[in-house]
Amino acid sequence: MLDIILAEILVAAIITFFVGRKLAAIIAMAVSILPLIALLDWASLYGFNIIHLGIEKSISIPIAGVSLNLAITPLGWFFALMIIPLFPAIMLFSYSFYKKNDGFYPFMLLALLSSIGIIMAKDMLTFFLFWEMMSWSSFLLVYRSRDKEAVMSYFIFSSLSAFLIFLGILIIYQQNASLLLSSINIESNAYGVVAIISLIAGFAIKSVLMPLHAWAPYVYSKSDEPFVAFLAGGLSKLGYYGMFLILFILAGAKVLETYFTNLSPNYILAVFGALSAFIATLIAFMQDDMRKLLAYSSIGQLGYIAIGFGIGTPLAVSGALFQAFNHAFFKAVLFLAAGAVAYRTGKWKISELGGVGYRMPFTFMATLFAIFTLAAIPITSGFAAKWLLYESAIDAKYIFVAPIMLIAGVGAFLYSFRILYGVFLGENRYPNIKEAPKSMVAAMFILVMPLLIFLIFPGYMLDMMHDALISGNIATLNHNAFVIETSLASYNTIAVIVALMIALIPAILIYKTRKHRVVDFMDNYLAGELPELYDNKISMHAASRFYKPIEEIIGPYFEPGTMSYYMAIYRGLKAISDAVRKIYTGKAGDYAIYVTLFLLIIMGWFIWM
């Protein structure tokens, strides 16, 4: 059965090249549901027996003489739960998003195939092959944006990430002469450490950890939204899948600890995560382009996962995995919402948007719920994840990481309000746009569904990652469906929900007993001024350069931006290339001298050496 599923995805990828827009979307949607069914079937392995179709657990695909062998692992299954459900929703969304079928569906299906391959890879050859497949299929999706910075930065950074991972794989292969992931143990000598660090760096590029994130704002803000929803939601999780694999399943964290006796490098990973969360949040709320803002917010939220992996205690890692799960869904919803707004108004800049929420209530509701989860409002699952991370930071006494992490959490309110106010509320500058098409709204609400489930039962999430944690030999927290206990304190969602119900009674009482009259937009206090005198052209939009006061204070610190450092390196390379080109002077005489010189040198070398 599994081979049929994979074959179908490949065939669909090829068919959707030649088929019309609508049909391609339907095929893509149908095919992307298959792996979801497989996931549900494998759930019975890990304690959630939902359906029993007996889909094989492993498969090996012959290609060019060698065979790629895939098998489901607890960790793979958990990460698949984050990434695979995104695809049907994105296909449903793009059913009405695209005017003509110019190559979106085939490469998305290839990306789906390669993400399944990465998650189920049994040996490093398969892992690396599907990793490269993922990078070029996503590159071709970025390539559609026709923007120079996005295309070049994405291609260069993904090849850099691929080479770093390849270096790590090579060194590990040299140490224990086998590619099988199960039979690897990394010796804690200099080579082993270099391998682990290069692997983590390679994965960090794809999961936009701060110093290596330079490509993200360009790519997120230029390529089209449905793909970016997957890029931000799913692809960054593959980076963290790799990191978890190296750090915990292959016991990389232990190797690093034993090697660096005094300063544990995990702390550095946590510090990078914290900086990434903090700086990205500060930059995020200064952006005017909605997609750039969401890009930096995604970098910030992903920093939390790096903190969790950096601290490494069971509390921290389960918090990080929970945050990864939430981030996959709420970031996908936010980008899809941005896509829906752009689809209707054709604009991305917050200064040009405003009041879209009045005319697009469903998109606004989906964004509102996603933002609540992003900003970790207590009863949402976002809070449970962040709570675990904060607990672990305090438990591990990381006094530098904890405050920065908390401030980044509060900073999340700032840019989330900027999106809500700047785009959806405020002055209704688009009074006659219609709600996004049904398929788009349906896609957004499908992605919001999982967040709802874990809103009430965070305990289920801990059950789902139970086996994954054990495979990474990390202890699990004692919890039931509602209450999570840790050594420091406990968090009981039912208590919060019941208390909320009680607390809502007075509010509803006041709201219901006194009648109220809804007033139209122009009937607003404008210090007595009459809009009719200015024939209703008073601009009431206060959202462009919204945080100007602190922008002037914080702005200068982030002025150059990390991309300028990379550009400096690129210019350096170009200078060297100029020097190198000088060798080819263009005159045949010089070339003849080169040949004879070469002859003399190697003859001398042979005879005298």
Partner: protein
């Protein structure tokens, strides 16, 4: 957790909610009286808070700007009551064993976000600017407050406020956190942060009546403004109790039966009144800061002091 225990617990929570609102409104009136006295004025009667809320709730017409605008009303009351339910009040652990300091910190954010949405939906530019200032204020005073909170947590090795209160009241007043050297500094920093939280004079930038026509509250009238007044009242109690729980042992001086509870309640009440008056006196002494000054004040001076306290505690603990 059998049903009867839940019933008792929710009854206690509801009772304390009423007590909290009552004390809050009392503080509003008394607060204005204290400020008036400082201005050498007679000042309104102490029950002025009750009258204002009654007048607002009995308004005939209430203007609203759509369902998002009404969200502000729902969020504000429920958020602050929820936060109050998760705080140990005078030694009585309402629900604080089920949640911890981070939960309360984020519960305090719900009303702020509710206002922001309501003000945003009203579409008034003054409201937008007001909300921007409120969020920037939140960002700025959260940093020192969070650092002092972490210092406390590291020192007592727990994040649940109930535990902190227990550990502080081990042997009565002498074991309060404020008497431990680093926490004196931390208490001072937290008090300035409290000034920002309560939106008292030097930091009432978001609701500045002269510059931006009372900021987010521009379009709120009638029952909406009434709810906001209730929120303001309860938030005074909640934020001062938070400060008291962290640094003044939650007002717990005796352990034991009903008598101890009453004594603790009175001590708690006196303590929050002292803290509130302190912030009022600072209120009368200062003109309103600009938002940049407030931001740099918190992120430069306060943050440094707080980090010094944190490192000092960390050095003591390891």
């Amino acid at each position: 957790m059998d049903v009867s225990a839940i019933m008792i617990k929710s009854a206690v929570v509801i009772a304390y909610a009423f007590i909290g609102t009552f004390i809050g409104l009392l503080f509003l009136g008394v607060g204005r009286k204290i400020v008036a006295r400082v201005h050498n004025r007679v000042g309104p009667p102490f029950y002025q808070g009750f009258i204002d809320v009654a007048k607002l709730l009995s308004k005939k017409t209430n203007i609203s700007h759509g369902w998002i605008f009404d969200l502000a009303l729902l969020f504000s009351i429920s958020g602050i009551l929820l936060a109050f339910a998760f705080l140990p009040v005078g030694g009585i652990k309402l629900l604080s064993t089920d949640g911890d300091a981070f939960l309360v910190l984020y519960l305090l954010a719900i009303p702020a976000l509710g206002f922001a949405l309501g003000a945003g939906a009203s579409g008034n530019p003054n409201a937008g600017i007001g909300v921007m200032r409120a969020l920037v204020m939140m960002l700025s005073y959260e940093l020192p407050f969070v650092i002092t909170m972490i210092a406390l947590m590291i020192y007592y090795d727990t994040t649940s406020i109930a535990r902190i209160v227990e550990l502080q009241s081990v042997n009565g007043i002498s074991s309060w956190a404020i008497f431990i050297p680093p926490f004196m500094l931390a208490a001072a920093v937290a008090d300035m942060a409290l000034q920002g939280m309560l939106m008292e004079q030097p930091f009432d930038i978001p609701v500045a009546p002269h510059e931006i026509a009372s900021g987010p509250m521009v379009e709120f009238g009638g029952k909406y403004l009434g709810t906001l007044m209730l929120y303001k009242a309860i938030s005074i109690v909640v934020e001062t109790t938070l400060f008291v729980d962290f640094f003044l042992g939650g007002g717990v001086i005796m352990h034991g039966g009903i008598v101890a509870n009453i004594a603790n309640f009175i001590v708690w009440f006196v303590l929050i009144f002292i803290v509130f008056t302190l912030s009022l006196l600072i209120n009368t002494a200062f003109p309103r800061f600009r938002i940049e000054q407030a931001f740099t004040f918190y992120w430069k001076y306060e943050a440094i002091l707080a980090t010094v306290a944190l490192i000092w505690v960390y050095w003591m603990v390891i």
